[in-house]
Each structure stands twice: as C-alpha cells, then as structure tokens.
Subunit: 175 residues, 2 copies
Amino acid sequence: MAKNTDDLRQGRRQQPVIDAFDRRILAALAADSSQSYARLGEAVGLSAPAVHERVRRLRQSGAIKGVHAALDGAALGKPLLAFVHVEAAGWGKSERLMQVLQFPEVEEMHSVAGDASVLFKVRTASPQALEAFLAQIHAVPGVTGTRSYIALSTYLERPVQAGVTDSWPHMPLPE
Amino acid sequence: MAKNTDDLRQGRRQQPVIDAFDRRILAALAADSSQSYARLGEAVGLSAPAVHERVRRLRQSGAIKGVHAALDGAALGKPLLAFVHVEAAGWGKSERLMQVLQFPEVEEMHSVAGDASVLFKVRTASPQALEAFLAQIHAVPGVTGTRSYIALSTYLERPVQAGVTDSWPHMPLPE
DNA sequence: AGTATCGGCGATTATTCTTCGGCAGAAAGG
DNA sequence: CCTTTCTGCCGAAGAATAATCGCCGATACT
C-alpha cells in the first residue's frame, strides 16, 4: 500500500514532485505556450502523451495557473507604465482600496515591507489617466501619500521563470 | 488604387485599427489563451475563421506579443517576491547591469524617473538568494545603493489588460 | 519472489486549426 | 447613379493536433 494513503484519506494533497522533466516543460511553456505537445516532447525528451499527462498534472497542482496572451501596452493605447507606492496610516488593505483593482489599468497590487505599504503596477493611456488613478488612491481613507515611479524604458518584462539559480556566482560584497 | 499604396511601397506599416471586436478578442485571450477559436467567436459574435484571421493580424502587428503559461512562483520553489530599486551614479544602463537579466529570478527591469534609476522585479527561493542577487547588483560599477521592497501578499498579478478606462469616476482631490 | 503502483509509449479517435472559394457591404471613380 | 475594387465575414473541406486507451517495463513494498 502506498505510504501516503493516510494523507489522501484526510484530504491532504501531498506536494507533487517537480522533476527535471517538469522543469524543462514549464520553462518551455513559459517561453511559448502555443507549441504542440509533440514539439515539447521532442524538446524535453518525452513522447507527446507523456507531456500531455505531465501538463495536466502541473495544471491541476497549481504550478501552471493559466495561459495568457501577452499584449503590447503601447499598441493598445496604454504607453505609460508606472509603479505607485502608497503610504497608509494603519493597515493598508481596505475594502475601499481593493475596488481600484477593477480598473484594467491596474496590473499588480502587493503589500510590501519597506517604507511603503502597498505597491501598484499600473499602465495608463496618458499622464492624465495616471493622475486620475492617483486621485482614486488618494480618495481612499487612510492613505497619507503616494510616490510614483514612471518607467522610461522597459528592458525586460517576462512571466515567472521556471529556473532557479542554485549556485550564485561568488562575488565579494564591496567593502 | 488603395490610398496607402505609397506607405506600403516605402515599407511603412500603417497603424492597424483595433476595433471593438479586436478589443474583446484581446481581452478574452489575455484572460485565457487556451480556448478555441469557436468559443472565442461565440463570445465576441464572430465565426471561428474570422477570429482566426483577426488574431493572425493582431499577432503580426505586434499587439499580441506571445502566449505564455503563468507559473506559480511558490510551487516552483521561489516564494519570495521583491522589487529592488537601484540608485546609480551617472547613467544606469550599463553592459554589466544587463548581465543580471540572465538570472531566471529577474522578471522585470525598467529604468524609471523618480528617486531611483533602475527598478527590478525579482522572485527568489529565499532571502539568501535575494541577498546574492543584491550582491550582484552592488558589484556593478556605478551603483551607489539599493532599496528593496519585499512583497508580503500579492492581491493582484495579471498580464496587460486590453481595456482602457476612458471616463474615470469624477472625484475631487483631497484639499 | 510476488505483487501492486506508477509512469511512459504507441495507436486510435475526437477536436481543433487552417485554408479555400464565394458573397455581401463599403469606398473610390466614372 | 452605376460600376469597379477592395475588404472582411461566412460555410465547408482537409490537415494537424489534442485527448484517450490499453499495454508494457521499472520501482517499491510485502
């Protein structure tokens, strides 16, 4: 009998093992998710059904959260990318603050440790639209200030990568 | 004769018009790019071949830059998300700085206007790995300092949205 | 050793993608 | 006002891919 039967019986789902094959599949899918299973299998050294089964498992386990088209902000009329740091008195996450997530301009929202409480990534059509977004933020009770960082050039913007650097180059810190 | 023959002859590509159909297709693809053309067509009110043709055009025009699988950082062993602001003397973009983009932990790099020169989004396995990344940054000539914002909770993280808010709710700025 | 479980492979079926010809509506020109 | 041209959509057919099934070998536990 399998040794994890107890876990299954109690509804626990054991952490699925992600081996080297899975890692290569995930890396390939993060780079381009429109390629066929046959090509994927050829790239990683498995047959198409095997890749299919692994992808199904990775999807179900949550390692793959979805498949999305990467759109060009400028082509869609939103050339302005900005990161907005919000300082709030008390605790940042409020019901009112979550409502701004409905705007399609907002792409990310995190609560952060540092000299800010909440961090937004927003992509707007114009400086005026950014100003309108900031007005929305300032209208939230408890917000004491914002600091905006406007992207001048984007040198890299890619999804979560499958790889993990396990041996960082040894390099002495500057004294 | 078409009126943009001159443009085509000179290699110029006129800005393709993105109509309401395209916008809806793009919105659907940004949400889930794994659905069939038939379903997409049903959702937006077109036939499958029509959607196919539009997607082909949107791809070629660059509005759709690619299709990527969204991976779960925690499931892959990278639970720590951080935004790193880099202050640099002189001009930030250096050949040396671009080399850190090779690490799979780095997901974004922008040059920004504000009290920082360059902004990184990095996802690491541990605080030690983040420290190692920071060591790499500090080893770059000209870097005078970094400021890190560690994400405690991620409330939203999604790709570029197709929608644009054209009428922001009118709301007076706090006096 | 025996046995059960797991994962991969080859082959088959179902679904989807991709292309083609035809047609209707809009725009430019006579 | 009519003709011509162009563009884009649709239905149908052929090609490619996705998804499933049974069989097999490897591994681990009894």
